[in-house]
Symmetry: C2
Subunit: 197 residues, 2 copies
DNA sequence: TCTATAATCAAATTTAGATTTGATTATATT
DNA sequence: AATATAATCAAATCTAAATTTGATTATAGA
């Protein structure tokens, strides 16, 4: 009979972004439901109408962040670009995605650990994390196989690159000297040169 | 008249290490004084005999970690090695210091942010952080000036290197495929090649 | 041996904050 | 217009910890 979601006064997406922002700024454990609620002009209790718990909020943030960036990276990874251009372009979309949603990305990178003892969540998180890593690994291995890249220890190379990319979310300032794309280009250059390009 | 520190049953250093371990494993805010105390066979209340608060414990950990690594890096930075060898050696001592005290390093990297809103602490932390960054900056700039290194954007290069080095504390496992020094060598190689060496 | 103080503990105190509960208000469908 | 349900709120509950308090125990130095 008669009813229906009341034209979503507050979209879950907005709550998720607010949560990410507070998680990133304060850390998961010191973030309060009241702070998150305030960002979307709600009270703490009202959040429970949309998410069953604070933990579920973080799970949603992690999932959104990892899904988004993996999608973007995959789109490039699946093109036919030669390895050097492909790697450069992947770094670009990675950094763009990271900085477009810097709170979400920051939460994924720094607060994901907070749930590493919740079995179900942990596994899902690690699976998504690995999926992204595999995309990078594929590009680097292809490039080495095709002699576009000089041989390196792929495991260490990937982790080094991830560390560098993740760290951008820590130091990036919108008002900084360089644009996102200039930053991406510089970082891509560092790693491509180290691969002999 | 008669008294004296009762032959330090539990050394403050041991408490500091225990705190770092718990901070690293669980995060500052979800770490409990009881957990930290348990690691040194004390009760939560007893910790207050040695440190005035949980926050002070973190401050002590941050200070110890940053001081230690800065000292180690400075020792190499002040040698007369040519830039390429110097940078390689710095990466080695950095990673050695980081992995010798991985809990302390992890706390510095991931939990320092927890105190970023305590003014006095924040400034001290940032000052030490900058000091370390300056050591790196000096080496890279010297190398570029002497033409040992090709020209790069030094700011981005340093941040990229720091991100990579910090990230080692996340993925390193003592039982892993490579030793600390092999890892350091591989990472140093990546960045040196990107500088044209 | 004696005594002051350090080191410790168990238990009490406090507080912050997640979650629940029981209304109240707004609106989509009939 | 009528009504079921969504969305919200204010206030109550509950709980986990940080910190405090008031002993108790051990020991260095006299």
């Amino acid at each position: 009979m008669p009813r229906r979601p009341a034209e979503q006064t507050v979209h879950p997406e907005a709550i998720l972004r607010a949560a990410a922002s507070v998680f990133h700024r304060r850390g998961f454990h010191s973030a309060t439901m009241a702070e998150i609620a305030a960002e979307v002009h709600l009270t703490a209790g009202s959040l429970y109408h949309h998410f069953p718990s604070k933990e579920d909020l973080l799970v949603a943030v992690l999932d959104a962040g990892l899904t988004e960036i993996t999608q973007d990276v995959r789109a490039v990874a699946e093109t036919e670009l030669p390895p050097p251009q492909k790697l450069r372009e992947i770094v670009h979309v990675h950094i763009r995605s990271e900085l477009d949603n810097v709170h979400i990305a920051g939460a994924v990178i720094f607060e994901g650990r907070a749930l590493l003892d919740v079995p179900g969540v942990r596994d899902q998180y690690i699976r998504q994390r690995d999926e992204l890593e595999q995309l990078y690994r594929g590009v680097v291995e292809d490039g080495i196989a095709s002699k576009d890249f000089s041989a390196v220890d792929v495991g260490i190379f990937i982790k080094t690159l991830f560390g560098a990319l993740n760290w951008v979310s820590v130091w990036y300032r919108p008002a900084g000297r360089l644009s996102r794309d200039e930053i991406a280009d510089e970082i891509a250059g560092i790693f491509l040169r180290s691969l002999g390009c």
